[in-house]
Structure formats: C-alpha cells, structure tokens
Amino acid sequence: MEDTGNILFSGVGGQGILLASEITVYALLSAGYDAKKSEVHGMAQRGGSVTAQLRYGKKVYSPLIEPGCADIQMAFEMMEAVRYLPFLHKGSTVIVNTQKILPPSVATGQAEYPRDVLRHLTERDIVVVPVDAFDIAREVGETKTANVVMVGALSAFLPIDAAIYEEVIRARVPERFRDVNLQAFAAGRQVSTVSKIGE
C-alpha cells in the first residue's frame, strides 16, 4: 500500500531498539496514524542481531515490511545497517548510529569487522545519515539518552511536528530526566539536517 510508511529498526540485542521504536510509535499515534509493529523476542535478544518493523498509515493490515519497501532504516550499529539491505530500495534513508559492536567471530579473531561498511549503502544510492549518538548523548549530559538522540534523528524524516514528540517525551519520561531527554531529542533532530551523505 503506497500510503503506508515502513520503518525498519535494526541493531544488537540489548541496545534498546524496542524503546526507541515505541517513542516513535506514540508520536505517530498521537498524530492520528494507525500503526502496527512487529518485534522478535526470545533467543535472538541474547546479543544477537535484532529488528523491529514499524508500519504506519491510514489503515495498516500487515505488521511486516515487504523486502524492497523500507523507506527508512534506523540502525543502532554500523554492520546492522547493512545486514538488511534486501529490505531497502534506491533512495531509502538509513540513519545509523556510528557504533561498532563486535560479533563473536570478530571478537575471537576468526573474522574481521568489514572496513568502510556503509559504502555498501552509498554505492546503491541509499541516503546515509550517520549519527554519533553516544557522543551527542554525552554532550547533552546523559549517555543513556543515545536512544532518544536516534529518535530525534529519525523524527526529521517523518511527517510529524517536533511538538508532538516533545509532548510524548514529556508525558512518558520521569520528570528528573525530562529536560535531558528533550535536549537529546533536539540534538538528534538537528544532526539529521546536517549530516546526510551520499545524497
């Protein structure tokens, strides 16, 4: 369905992908969209490669994104930005947290972490938005807000006013963390507008 938006979240079990996808959903729902999201629980969460699929629109049936149809991928790790390439198409946007997490074969010296891994995306006319979410979160004053930085970066590509996100964050984050999360969101949103490569 052409009027349905497809966002793929990818990363490594334990990175907090589910939380980031939830904040995005609340904003979409607040803006009046229907949405469905598919997650995988269980064994994969033990440090494995993990995805969540989010679809939104006027009326959403399937919870799964069709291969070749993800408009945006939000990747929390560099290699995981490339692993789901068959889900993307020319002109897809990949927002990537420029963090490396070594898979076991690399950590044990059996394989190497691929060099310049994001070129696999830019070579295929995919728009890459690198975000150093950890560093930005540290500058904001709380490394735990790296997730929210990523949500901010994603927000720049969705048809939702920043005010709706801010409302969601105000409503859902405990008061003492509210300001730092709002700052993290704003910083992430700012980054998206300046750091596109491959466009």
Binding site: M1, V12, G13, E22, V25, Y26, L29, S30, D34, A35, K36, K37, S38, E39, V40, H41, G42, M43, A44, Q45, R46, G47, G48, S49, V60, Y61, S62, P63, L64, E66, P67, G68, C69, M79, E80, V82, R83, L85, P86, L88, H89, L102, P103, P104, S105, V106, A107, T108, G109, Q110, A111, E112, Y113, P114, V117, H120, R124
Partner: protein, 603 residues
C-alpha cells in the same frame, strides 16, 4: 501497554489476550513460559481478581485450569506450540468431559522457529482432539476472540483453543477497551460423575456428546460473524485465516475474501457458496495445508500449497509473488557480513560449564534454554538437543547402547526450570534402570531464556511473593542418586576436577552448578567490579578468548607490531576486556596462567 486515549490502547497481541481474559472474568490461569506465549501470563498477573501461576510444565498448567473449570470458574491455560504436546494428554480427554466454567487453551505457534525447535502447526490439534479453535489476525482481534472463546466454551460445553502465532503475539497494534464481565458463575463442588469420570463406560457416552457438540459448532460457524465474507473482485477469491489474512489484504486489496476466524470446525456451506462465487479459489495459510486439505475433502477445487510455501512464515511479498509470479520489486542482494548469532551474556555462569565440557571428550546431551547456546563456537559443547527434559533420558539411552565402555562418555546438561519441567522423571529412570551417565543441572535460580520467570526452585511465585523453594540436591538424593556435587561454575579449574570425578563414576551422578543468572534484578543492581587485562603480561595464548565472552576481544598484530610493542616476535596478538561489558564472573582470570587478567576497582 500504553494508553492512547481513554478507550484505545497500544499493545501486543499477548497483552491484548491478557486484557481480554481479564474482561472475560477469568478466575484461574496457569501456564508455563515459552516464546511466543510468555507475556500473556506476565501481563495477566497484573490484573486484580485473576489468580495466576507458573506451573512446572504445560500438562500441569492445563490440569490446573481443568480443575478450576470443574469448580465452575472461567479458566485459562497458556503455552507455546510444543507445550501442547506436553499437555496433549489432558487436552484430548478434557474434550470428552467438557467444561463447567469456560475453559480456553492458548497455543502460541512459532512459524519460522524464531525461538523454537520445530514449527509444528497446532491447528492439527483442534482436528485431532475435536475442539473448536479460533484464530485471530492481530492484537485487536486477539482480545475480541479470547472473550468469544469463553462464551463458546460455555455454550458448547467444550474447551476452546485459541491459536496465535509469533506475528500476533509479538505484534503491537491499537486495541479498544471493552466491558468487564461482572457476573461470575458461582464456584462450588459439582458432583457429576457421568460427565467428569472418564472410565470406558462413561467415555463411550461422552464420545457421542463430543460429536453432537462439534456438529452444533459447525452449524454455528455457518452464520457467526467471526467467519466473515468480504465481497470483492471474484476473479481470484481467497480463503484465509490468522495472520495470513493480513498478507492477502495487502497483496490483493480488491479481491473477494472469506476470512475464517474459526479454523476448526469449518463452515462447509459457507465455503461452498464462496467457492462457487469466484473464478479461482486460493487458500492462503502458513505451514500445513490444513484448510486446504479439509476444503479439498469437500470436493472443492482450489490452489494452496501448489503455490504457497508450507515452510516458514508468510508475508505480503511471498503471497503476492506466489500467486502473481514476477510481480515484486527487484531487490538488492544481501552483502556477506560476519554473522551475529545470539550469545550467552558476559558473566553467564553457563559459559564456565560449557568451557569445561568443550575440553572433555564426552558427548553432551543438551536441553532447551539459554544454555542451548553452548552449541555455538567457540565453545561448541553440545551434541544433541531435542525437547524439554530429553537431555537426561537421551543420555541414559546412549549409555545403555554404548554398554560397559560407555560409562564415562555421556553427560547431560539441563537448566533448573527445564529439569523441573520434565527432567525429573528421566533422572528417576536413570537411577532405577542404572546407567552411569552424569547429569549437570545448571541452577541459575530463574527461567532465563523466556525473560526471567520464577520457578519452583527460585523461591518466589509469579507475583514475586516468597514461595517454598525446591531443594534440587535433596530431590536428587531422594530419587536415589548417591553422588551429588555442588559447584561454582565460575571457578573453572575446581569445577573441572569435580566434573572429571563424576564422569568417571560407574553409577549415576549429578553435578549442580550454582550461580545466579546475571540478568536477575539483584545481579543487575549490584555494581560489579570489572576485570581488566594487564596487556604487558598477555602472551596471546587465547585461553580467555576461547570462552567466547562478549566482553573479551582479540586484536591481531600487524607485521612487526609485536616486536615494536615489546612482545615476543611471533606473538599473534593480544586480548582485551571491555570493562563496561564485564560482569565480574572471573572465569577468564581463573584460566589465565600469565597474570594478565586482574580484578579492578569497579565501574
């Protein structure tokens, strides 16, 4: 669960089922954790007025629910698909007794085996046990259908099965709140032996009742709203159910569809009418040709598994391309990348045991849990894994087949929860029929794989209240094991000595590995001191690397780098501990012979 407004909630299928169960006025619910069913019970236990518990296995869970139903209460049992195999014995006979209070059994199937050892299609159970089965497509329908299932159960005097799949359980969507049923059926003792005592003479009479009930259900299925005709383009018509319906709606939005909310029994007249109204009939279903087989048995021509895959999950693209080949977009080919399989956590106590097993020449008969990951490299220390509890009996069978020479060649490994689930009877058999196999019980005080559920050995019940803790050592001794050892798995050297001693015995032996799961809240809250590498002492022997701990990584030296940095000329590299990831287990330090790993001051 998140509130969108006063009436609408954003929730997963499992959360929606919990809400539906609450709204249906259920009094007793029992289950055993298993992906993708676990969160139903975890969410249900937060509602007031519903008694919830984790049972030691699915058979017990279902029997508890049957008991509650016999006492007049609405009752629920939840399990994953393979759990129904365990509960099949009471299920098939509860079909004969019928119910007093409404009884619903949730089976959560896992097409694609995201977290399972097989992808059996449990719709076959509805056919085999002669039970009505409802199959929702999404969270909103899951809530509606579970309430309906209780109504049907009481109207038809039958247990009703609710079949969900991973893409209903773990999909989130918008769900509307409903009314809570206020009037509870009065609970009390009902002596109706002609209905509840299944000895042959009575069972033969109830057998007739079962057929009458299924006939009544068939008639109801012809007119009920849950079997819904959606008019549309009749060139291609679709009969579908469950999550497959959603893929059909996306792929062929204009087509005529007969959506079956009840996948057993089938509304034959309705199906015939629909088949006659379309040019070509397609049956779209995941896994087995269940609807297709029964529709073909009606003498109706249709397409099904001749084009739709019978393995793994479906999705919109698969359905569209199966029916309209070549209709999809051209896809980017995947890029080859190092795999990222799941791994045991940093500090996981299981790692120490599997490290030792990887160094021993034994066949490791494994079981179901986080520790099945001991199969993966670099530990590669599991040689078989079949089903819950099988490790113990398989080891015994192997030992018997190997005979006298095999006394020290087979070890079985099982978690605390899995041992209680169905390993105990295997151990009784090992003792009774006397084989020399060694059983290792990995007691991490929790059911970890499914996300930290309490169990009879953990000392707490589902609500987190203190409960009597099963003493595993006393239990093993009580069934007749004379050699029971307790080890700290983080002390790799000492554990190895004990494992070797146990394996060499010519009698049954049990080694209980005692260390808590690092994901337990109390373990996460403590501030672990982390280990660090004294890199000047590291000789690159890779002993610590072979643990496969996610906190330890290897850096290869470039040519000449070793010498330049003051290491031996031919040293290949050094290892490094990520102090943020380290969970203070000390397994690596107990392996390092070069004083290159030291416990630090804390994070």
């Amino acid at each position: 669960m998140t509130k969108i407004n006063d009436n609408a909630l954003w929730m997963s299928g499992n959360e929606a089922i919990a809400l539906g169960v609450y709204e249906a006025g259920v009094k007793v619910a029992s289950g055993y954790p298993g992906t993708p069913s676990t969160e139903i019970m975890e969410n249900l236990c937060r509602y007031d007025g519903v008694y919830t518990e984790w049972a030691p296995n699915e058979k017990v869970g279902l029997e508890v629910a049957i008991g509650a139903s016999f006492a007049g209460a609405r009752a629920l049992a939840t399990m994953k698909h393979v759990g129904v195999n365990v509960a099949a014995d009471p299920l098939f006979t509860a079909s004969y007794t019928g119910v007093c209070g409404g009884l619903v059994v949730v089976t959560a199937d896992d097409p694609e085996m995201h977290s399972s050892q097989n992808e059996q299609d449990n719709r076959n159970y509805a056919f085999a046990a002669k039970l009505p089965m409802l199959e929702p497509s999404d969270p909103s329908e899951a809530k509606e259908f579970v309430k309906l299932a209780f109504e049907l159960s009481e109207d038809l005097d039958s247990p009703v099965m609710l079949r969900i799949t991973t893409r209903v359980s773990h999909v989130k969507g918008v769900v509307l709140r409903g009314e809570k049923r206020q009037s509870h059926a009065a609970c009390g003792i009902n002596k109706i032996p002609g209905k509840l005592v299944m000895l042959p003479a009575i069972a033969r009479k109830r057998r007739v009742v079962v057929e009458e009930r299924m006939q009544k259900c068939r008639e109801l299925a012809e007119t009920a709203a849950f079997n819904r005709l959606e008019e549309g383009d009749a060139q291609k018509g679709f009969i579908t159910s469950g999550v497959s319906y959603l893929y059909v709606k996306e792929a062929f939005p204009e087509a005529a569809v007969l959506k079956l909310g009840m996948c057993w029994p089938l509304p034959e007249k309705k199906i015939r009418q629909f088949a006659a109204s379309v040019d070509e009939l397609y049956i779209v279903e995941e896994l087995d040709p269940f609807l297709e087989t029964h529709i073909k048995a009606m003498g109706i021509q249709c397409h099904g598994k001749d084009c739709i895959p019978s393995q793994g999950e479906l999705n919109t693209a698969i359905v569209r391309q199966a029916i309209d080949p070549g209709s999809g977009p051209e896809l980017f080919a995947p890029v080859e990348l190092p795999n990222r399989p799941p791994n045991m956590c940093a500090g996981c106590p299981h790692r120490g045991i599997f490290y030792n097993l990887s160094r021993m020449k034994v066949f490791v008969s494994g079981d179901i849990g986080c520790y099945t990951l001991g199969f993966l490299p670099p530990l590669s220390a599991m040689d078989s894994c079949v089903c819950m509890g099988a490790s113990v009996s398989i080891a015994h069978g192997m030992a018997k087949a190997l005979g006298e020479d095999g006394y020290n060649q087979v070890v079985s490994v099982i978690g605390d929860s899995t041992f209680i689930h169905s390993g105990i009877t295997g151990l009784i058999n090992t003792v009774y029929n006397n084989s020399a196999s060694t059983l290792i019980i990995l007691d991490n005080r929790i059911t970890a794989m499914t996300g930290q559920q309490q169990n009879p050995a953990s000392g707490y019940n589902m609500k987190g209240e203190a409960a009597t803790a099963l003493d595993l050592e006393v239990l093993c001794r009580a069934v007749g094991v004379r050699h029971v050892y307790r080890v700290n798995p983080h002390d790799i050297v000492e554990t190895r000595k004990i494992l070797k001693e146990a394996v060499e015995l010519r009698e049954p032996s049990v080694v209980i590995s005692e260390a808590p799961c690092v994901l337990l809240p109390e373990m996460k809250e403590r501030k672990p001191v982390s280990y660090f590498t004294n890199q000047e002492n590291c000789v690159g022997c890779m002993s610590c690397i072979r643990l496969g701990c996610p906190a330890i990584s290897w850096t290869s030296f470039a040519e000449g780098e070793a010498e330049r940095r003051g290491y031996r000329k031919n040293q290949k590299g050094i290892s490094k501990i990520d102090e943020i990831l380290c969970n203070d287990c000390g397994q690596c330090a107990s392996l390092c012979k070069f004083n290159a790993i030291t416990r630090g001051e804390g994070k």
